[in-house]
């Protein structure tokens, strides 16, 4: 069964049609590359899944149940996590503190509850081990490499039982070696049965890690096919409009 299913989703802001009649479904453990030029509607589409916007038309289903989101925290409760483009990390805090930001573990009774440092360090360490990332929970994020910072942001999505992780341009501003690290992190998420939506401008990354590619142009979905049966040339053509549409 599809973990996420969108049917005839549209979104308009006044007279601007940002997303137009898009349908798609994503299976568990699948990595989907979402590509398109600036203004193609990828961000708007993702923001609807993440609970930032409500669709004007159409409906969304999560594991078969209708999904209506009023704010981002509701998406999180449903197991939809997002890794923001700027990673949303606090440099002055430790890796573990960043992983648990906004949902800190506490111990104690009633109103007398204190932060549970030991449990947070331990669990964060386990998550980094799962991601095969050399990241120490006690280190400040300030001192970390781009790949480690990505690991911290991704570990955050694994705290709860995430079903879908939306990643906004995770490889846009890091070095070549770190890109390989991030793509590995994505594979580890996939291996745990989590569906990953990878928004990216970088063709090699999508062809490296994704199972499927969805191309958007001017608010419409113009392609949705398996990576194996597509090519970078075809996707480029679809993004620019040289190729109208493939089914």
């Amino acid at each position: 069964m599809a973990v996420l299913e969108l049917t005839n989703i549209s979104k308009h802001f006044g007279a601007i049609q940002a997303v137009n009649d898009v349908s798609l479904s994503i299976e568990p453990g699948q990595v989907v590359g979402l590509m398109g030029d600036n203004g193609a509607g990828k961000s708007t589409l993702v923001k609807m899944i993440a609970g930032n916007f409500r669709p004007s038309h159409g409906d969304m289903r999560l594991e078969g149940k209708e999904l209506i989101l009023h704010k981002p925290s509701e998406a999180r409760q449903h197991g939809i996590e997002i890794v923001h483009q700027d990673l949303a990390l606090c440099n002055n805090l430790t890796a573990a503190a960043n992983v648990y930001l906004g949902r800190e573990l506490r111990r104690g009774v009633g109103p007398f509850r204190i932060l549970d440092y030991a449990a947070m360090y331990k669990r964060a360490g386990q998550l980094f081990a799962q991601l095969k990332s050399e990241t120490r929970p006690r280190d400040l994020v300030k001192q970390m490499s781009g790949g480690q910072r990505q690991a911290v942001a991704i570990a955050r999505t694994m705290l709860s039982q995430a079903k879908i992780v939306l990643m906004d341009e995770p490889t846009a501003a890091i070095s070549v070696r770190q890109v390989a690290e991030v793509l590995n992190l994505i594979r580890h998420l996939r291996d745990q049965g989590i569906a990953v939506v990878l928004i990216s401008h970088r063709m090699p990354d999508v062809f490296d890690v994704a199972d499927r590619v969805i191309v958007m142009r001017r608010g419409r979905k113009v392609a949705d096919k398996r990576i194996a049966s597509s090519s970078p040339e075809e996707v480029t053509g679809l993004i620019t409009g040289a190729i109208e549409q493939v089914v």
């Binding site: 981002p72 923001h84 606090c90 002055n92 805090l93 509850r113 932060l115 360490g125 006690r138």
Partner: protein, 332 residues
């Protein structure tokens, strides 16, 4: 033998000692201790019980407010109104008690005044997006003016039926001969330190100072917390005002004039970063202590009091210089 991933993850990069030596607060503590040792030998008057009693008590008023200011500074904000809020709280207490009300009513009115000013500052800053500097600069002027209105710009020194209670509250020494204000300072410092290190609220304050946008995205209630920190800052000023009123036995409308700068200096010397994200309760106390020791020693060493500003200003620059040198080394 190869180092496994688990070992790497479990490794602590910094030992307790290395962290201590790299902290600005630690070096300021050393400076305070060295200064005290030097003064004990250089002058006869320093290490007397009376002088130490005076020093510890003088530290408290700046230190108590600096504790509140630490919360604000960690979020990346600033509160310039604390000196005026101290004055207004003192005046509300004095006028209420002078009118014949009990000390409880006076303190309640005084605290309520401080909290509402803090809430006003916080709401303007958090919900309407005013810059903290501007809002609290405005309040610096407003609060002092209100204190003048409340007292008709007179000196209040008669506090009604509970006059003696108030003087005992601020001027007494109920435990082991330690001045009461010092006890209040220690209790408040412990509460502040605990809050910053062990509560979710404290963690979120650091997060806001580190990256406010990230805090918002991860679901930290940024606006409510910002209002709370300005209320805490004003509350600290209010408490300091009540204690100082009891100690001085009189309130004038220039009480706490320019105090905001001493308070900010204390927090910065103690290691807080005006850019936000860094600060400790202990640092605020140590910063206040260094300023007071400098002030006190100049008097004892017979140096003209006009030089005070030079030494305190120098201490601020020196403390921050240490921090810069550490950063340069790290960037190399």
């Amino acid at each position: 033998m190869a180092v496994t991933l688990d070992q790497t993850i479990a490794q602590k990069q910094h030992s307790f000692l290395s962290r201590m030596f790299s902290s600005q607060t630690f070096w300021v503590v050393i400076a305070v201790i060295l200064a005290c040792i030097f003064l004990s030998f250089a002058t006869d008057a320093f290490a007397t019980q009376k002088n130490l009693y005076n020093i510890t008590r003088n530290i408290t008023f700046v230190a108590i407010i600096a504790l509140g200011m630490t919360f604000v500074i960690i979020t990346g904000g600033i509160d310039l109104s604390v000196g005026s809020v101290l004055c207004l709280s003192s005046m509300v207490l004095a006028v209420t008690m002078h009118a014949g009300y009990s000390i409880e009513v006076g303190i309640l009115a005084s605290i309520a005044t401080a909290l509402s000013i803090g809430a006003f500052n916080g709401i303007l800053i958090a919900y309407l997006g005013f810059p903290p500097f501007v809002v609290t600069l405005g309040m610096l002027s407003i609060a002092r003016s209100l204190a003048m209105v409340a007292s008709n710009n007179t000196v209040v020194f008669q506090f009604g039926p509970d006059h003696d209670k108030l003087l005992a509250l601020g001027g007494g020494a109920w435990v082991f001969g330690i001045a009461n204000p010092v006890l209040y300072m220690i209790i408040l410092a412990l509460i502040t330190g605990f809050t910053l290190r062990w509560t979710k609220f404290g963690r979120h304050i650091f997060a806001i100072g580190g990256n406010e946008h990230a805090a918002t995205l991860t679901g930290v209630p940024v606006r409510q917390i910002k209002v709370a920190v300005y209320m805490i800052s004003a509350l600290a000023a209010g408490i300091a005002g009540i204690v100082q009123t009891g100690w001085l036995g009189a309130v004038t409308t220039n009480l706490g004039n320019g105090m905001e700068l001493q308070v900010i200096a204390a927090t910065v010397i103690g290691g807080a970063d005006l850019a936000g994200g860094v600060g400790t309760a202990f640092g605020a106390i140590v910063g206040a202590a260094l300023i007071e020791v400098i002030r006190n020693s100049l008097g004892l060493l017979g140096i003209n009091a006009f030089w005070q500003g030079v030494f305190i200003g120098g201490a601020i620059l020196l403390a921050v210089l240490f921090d810069r040198i550490r950063n340069f080394r790290r960037n190399d």
